[in-house]
């Protein structure tokens, strides 16, 4: 496998979805290609950083409009029932 091949398989590799034979081929390439190792490490870090990004609170005005709308909807539902 060459560098182009590694790049095409990066997603499946970091997701652990590569079939064994292809994974072994890719890892053999990584043994002697520092650049591909770096791309894989950085792509993995990229995903982890977004995954681990903290959830922020809803802006107060957005939250209060949402809850008011939900309450209205539930009240309508009760009237129709």
């Amino acid at each position: 496998m060459n560098c182009d091949g590694v790049i095409r398989e990066i997603s499946d590799y970091i997701d652990g979805e590569l079939v064994l034979a292809v994974r072994h081929e890719l890892e053999r390439h990584l043994e002697h290609c520092g650049e591909c190792q770096m791309v894989i490490d950085q792509t993995r870090r990229t995903v982890e950083i977004f995954c681990g990004s903290e959830l922020v609170e809803l802006p107060a005005d957005v939250k209060s409009r949402l809850h008011a709308a939900v309450k209205r909807k539930m009240a309508e539902g009760r009237q129709q029932a």
Partner: protein, 229 residues
């Protein structure tokens, strides 16, 4: 690779201590959002049988995640709010049709993604189509390769980091960031993402690969070693 591996250490370990200990100190009657997948089906069952408080708990639990998703897709606060509200309204109206084959959260994400995409298409009718085939592979090769050093994100304050992530997502093409948001941020599987967007599994994989590589490239600007912030 799923975010769950990340969250497990932070969130799921608390489950072992028992649900009782998870009650938030500021609101002892409410479980922190995102904690308990395990009791989601109980809340859904209660909401289905007309328990308003149970549905409100589901809203409280997922509102931040749903708003993050609709923001990530639309990149417009007004559209994101409308899409989020309509997603919760529709999930309430159609709760009886929810059969429990998937998690309620996954079902809700699907509704929210559709609401957000509808608004995105309205705003950019000629610029966005999620199901257009991707041409060629020539742009896949990374053009900038520089060492990031260990934990590059720790060089930034939390608010600064939040702005960086928001900025790089903003720069991403809508069809790439939609797939990335569903798959890597909201933790849907490839199949669930494909179903939510009405595209094939290979199309999801192709967009996800491009999204990840492009985001890596954009983050390189901030993370390369020696870069002063």
């Amino acid at each position: 690779m799923y975010c769950a591996t990340f969250e497990n250490g932070i969130v799921q370990s608390g489950l072992l201590a028992g649900l009782g200990s998870l009650l938030s100190a500021s609101n002892p009657h409410r479980l922190p959002s995102g904690v308990a997948k395990e009791d989601e089906h109980l809340l859904v069952a209660a909401a289905k049988s007309g328990d308003a408080a149970a549905f409100e708990e589901l809203v409280e639990r997922y509102e931040r995640k749903i708003f993050r998703l609709t923001m990530n897709i639309t990149r417009n606060k007004e559209d994101a709010e409308d899409a989020m509200q309509d997603a919760f309204m529709k999930s309430y109206s159609h709760l009886k049709d929810f059969d429990g084959d998937s998690r309620f959260y996954t079902w809700l994400v699907r509704i929210a993604a559709n609401e957000a995409l509808m608004r995105l298409r309205k705003r950019r009718p000629n610029q966005f189509s999620i199901d257009e085939p991707i041409q060629g592979e020539e742009d896949l090769m990374p053009v900038e390769l520089e060492d990031w050093g260990p934990s590059p994100e720790q060089r930034f304050a939390q608010t600064e980091m939040r702005e960086i992530l928001s900025g790089v997502i903003d720069d991403l093409e809508p069809d790439y960031r939609t797939v990335f948001a569903l798959r890597d941020v909201e933790e849907l599987s490839t199949e669930e993402t494909a179903k939510a967007l009405g595209i094939s599994v290979p199309a999801v994989k192709s967009r996800l690969l491009r999204a990840r590589l492009k985001l890596r490239q954009k983050l390189n600007r901030y993370f390369r070693q020696g870069e002063t912030n």
